[in-house]
Assembly symmetry: D2
Homo-oligomer: 287 residues x 4
Amino acid sequence: MRRYILTITCPDRVGIVAAVTGLIAARDGSVLQAAQHGDLDSGRFFLRIEIVADSLPDGFGPMELAEAFEPVAAEFDMRWHLSDTDVPKRVVLFTSKEDHCLADLLYRWRAGELECEVPCVISNHEDLRSLVEWHGIPFRWVPVGTEPAAKAAAFEEMQRMLDEERADVVVLARYMQILPPSFCAGREGRIINIHHSFLPSFAGARPYHQAFERGVKLIGATCHYVTAELDEGPIIEQDTRRIDHGDTVEELRRVGRDVERTVLARGLRWHLEDRILLNGHKTVVFP
Amino acid sequence: MRRYILTITCPDRVGIVAAVTGLIAARDGSVLQAAQHGDLDSGRFFLRIEIVADSLPDGFGPMELAEAFEPVAAEFDMRWHLSDTDVPKRVVLFTSKEDHCLADLLYRWRAGELECEVPCVISNHEDLRSLVEWHGIPFRWVPVGTEPAAKAAAFEEMQRMLDEERADVVVLARYMQILPPSFCAGREGRIINIHHSFLPSFAGARPYHQAFERGVKLIGATCHYVTAELDEGPIIEQDTRRIDHGDTVEELRRVGRDVERTVLARGLRWHLEDRILLNGHKTVVFP
Amino acid sequence: MRRYILTITCPDRVGIVAAVTGLIAARDGSVLQAAQHGDLDSGRFFLRIEIVADSLPDGFGPMELAEAFEPVAAEFDMRWHLSDTDVPKRVVLFTSKEDHCLADLLYRWRAGELECEVPCVISNHEDLRSLVEWHGIPFRWVPVGTEPAAKAAAFEEMQRMLDEERADVVVLARYMQILPPSFCAGREGRIINIHHSFLPSFAGARPYHQAFERGVKLIGATCHYVTAELDEGPIIEQDTRRIDHGDTVEELRRVGRDVERTVLARGLRWHLEDRILLNGHKTVVFP
Amino acid sequence: MRRYILTITCPDRVGIVAAVTGLIAARDGSVLQAAQHGDLDSGRFFLRIEIVADSLPDGFGPMELAEAFEPVAAEFDMRWHLSDTDVPKRVVLFTSKEDHCLADLLYRWRAGELECEVPCVISNHEDLRSLVEWHGIPFRWVPVGTEPAAKAAAFEEMQRMLDEERADVVVLARYMQILPPSFCAGREGRIINIHHSFLPSFAGARPYHQAFERGVKLIGATCHYVTAELDEGPIIEQDTRRIDHGDTVEELRRVGRDVERTVLARGLRWHLEDRILLNGHKTVVFP
């Protein structure tokens, strides 16, 4: 069923929902889901509404809806976004050598759990070419040198690829390179990473080793938007799994793979369905 | 902060939220939380709205709000309920000999986690008198005979107590008597029970023995509204805990006590905050 | 690291562990892991020991260990089994059209999480051929007719395949045919199934529909050994996931797929590592 | 059923279990539970054995068992401990004003879930006197001044109380004072604390505020042994609970109270049953 998804952020005040739902009801629009959050801390209001496309009048498509919505948006000083489920987002996956997250995302995409297009997978290694190509997706090998100049050139090339493919969102599926700030610029809330620890614990390198050393009884994973500050971006989703004294670092990795892929898949699905709204350095998630 | 909580159920159609929020916005009412659900199966719509009392005009209290709301309710054929957080619900707890659920609810009540009044605790045994009275709550001992006539008389007495105490809701905190249908009549969605299994598994007597015999790897508990059919009422909340081959029935009971009390407390809190709406023999829960 | 895994079941009495570990220590054998369980209900004792192969004297291999062990086994009336991690178990996967369990097992096998050989995948449909063959595993299509004779012939053919491939264990990865008793005979504790409900709830057909109808708040999956009685075999592993009133049957299926594949993978791994011992119609699992 | 619980730590080598179980079997001792762990990292071995007291010969009590065990202990360079379930540990609870952990521990003690004696509860505030005394336990009010001298005097007084009461273990049930090093000295592995975060995240003060600020999606609690370094002691147990963007700090506290008390109760029960062995700054837990 085709739906328009409207997400809104604005200063909280009286009448926002009445205005938005009134506008939709006036066009006989049928609301399938709606969720809202008034943030007492930031004083901002967050709204997500799914409208059944066919319930609106003939010829009243996303453009007309957006136009009709403009005055309301202006009145309430809204930042807003309108998605059309008939226009799936274009997701470019970045990967390196470890395939558990990539394989899981490709599986879910193939199974119809992730409504998106995957124009290509980009990797700094060739290892996962066969897996990607079996799914009928182009594999782009972009080695990233260690020299600053080579590195910059590589990221420029990837930047071009993203532009060419009109990528809406980048997913770092265990991509083992740090993105340069210039690459992140302009992609706020549009690069998703999976970190293999329960942040803020064990940020940085080798989190499973850190967890093993500290003797924690649960390990976790964190899906977050990437910002210029490493491992500091807005958290989208987290989860944990129980381990015990008998587990080696290798076993933490095995258990961790499961939680990483689950958490990343959940985060990406929410992003694709416009269920995540940025609230400063935090997120509002309407699952 | 004083709030009015409006819960609504009606046939799903265009304009419900717009009408309700429009009415509130017209009085400058500030909405703190709102949640909705359109049930594709039953074709019914469910809405819960928390309104900040002080945001409404002076002299516009719950009575005035209800009056203003009547025409909208009629138009959309709504069943609805308006609560005022300044008028806490009156909860009568029923118990027998096992105190884990009772002690937990009393603790949470004392800690302010359950916003309600507890006019009395009723029990068919005297064992838990001291626990109850330490909390400053009257303890009413109503033995339930085994003879039909004695039993009927006991339940009539309890019926009178509930009327006297103007009880809004009855909680069976491991009360080991089956309620007669006459007692349940007229209390639809107002008697909460905790069953010590993950229903529909192990309905009936001695669920931990049944679980042990079957060799399940998780045990659970179910909080549900009581109906005339034993263990068949609408489920409010459930949860499970891991066990293993080494656990005896006694250990299942110990693990089970924790999940029982957690699940019952969660269910009661949601009920007190008008977060549960009946949808036939199922529930809609806005947590 | 090569290990010998010894699993033992016998009537419980004094001295079992002393006898077994004494025998191993006398050959300088190093024990990597050991776990035991005395079942008060059945009066039986269960033991699992991992011995580092290289710690035993030169020329003292599995045959010699078994021979040395015979007198102890006889003394204590043991049923026992000795595995050699250098001789991985041979697993034949059965599947139909739904691929979530199959894809997950193949992924984990490829990733080295499941130490086994997969000589072939057998299916009554052709749909998953490409997935299987990409993994370099032969795909055997054995359609199962609806007529009794055709059905019997199909299962005889599969029986032959299992013999030919010297299969140690059969995994029903959402195989949508009921196995005839003759097929199960002689394979006690060697056919693993995944049922898409938290048994004993919702046994039989269409468990997600049943769960949806009942309005449960968690769904689950059960990995169990297959016996002649459908959905009644010894439970190996179970888990649950939270759902809510907004989830359709289709969404239960999506959430369920994740718990099914996790539970099946865990159960199979434990089986491959000889961590599961049968205790009547229940299991002892040393994870 | 009376049991002797033997816990052992020693350098890992061949024959430890054979020697220990051989010694027990030679006296006809019946082993109820046994668990072991060989730590590849530290090269140390950990063993816990529960022996049924009545299975040993008449007159062969804990003293005789210990004496018989001495030569084995010496041979393998063991640190070991022998407990008798007929001699419950003596637990002194420290508390301040928040009662959720204290109330939970007292409930479980009263319910027989924690096999121990509680000679007294010590607090720096008077608030929880009534709760403690209702349980028939002496309440000792020891205010802790802010001046170094007053503080030192207070801790000396508590030290004396612990000596007088022959305390085996101290539990800090949300005791809001930092223990001076002199107080911790000689109590290694015998002071249990609950920290209200998933350590190492949010160590230090106001962890729920820290969690709220960072926007994490789960909160947790950590039960650990106290060492001179704050929040750095060996972790015994941890758990997490899901929160969302709508939860205020106050709601994190409410959710957190549940996980705190659960985690602390589990940790204390394991300690009382000698299920926790120290492994440097980590723990081995045989649950």
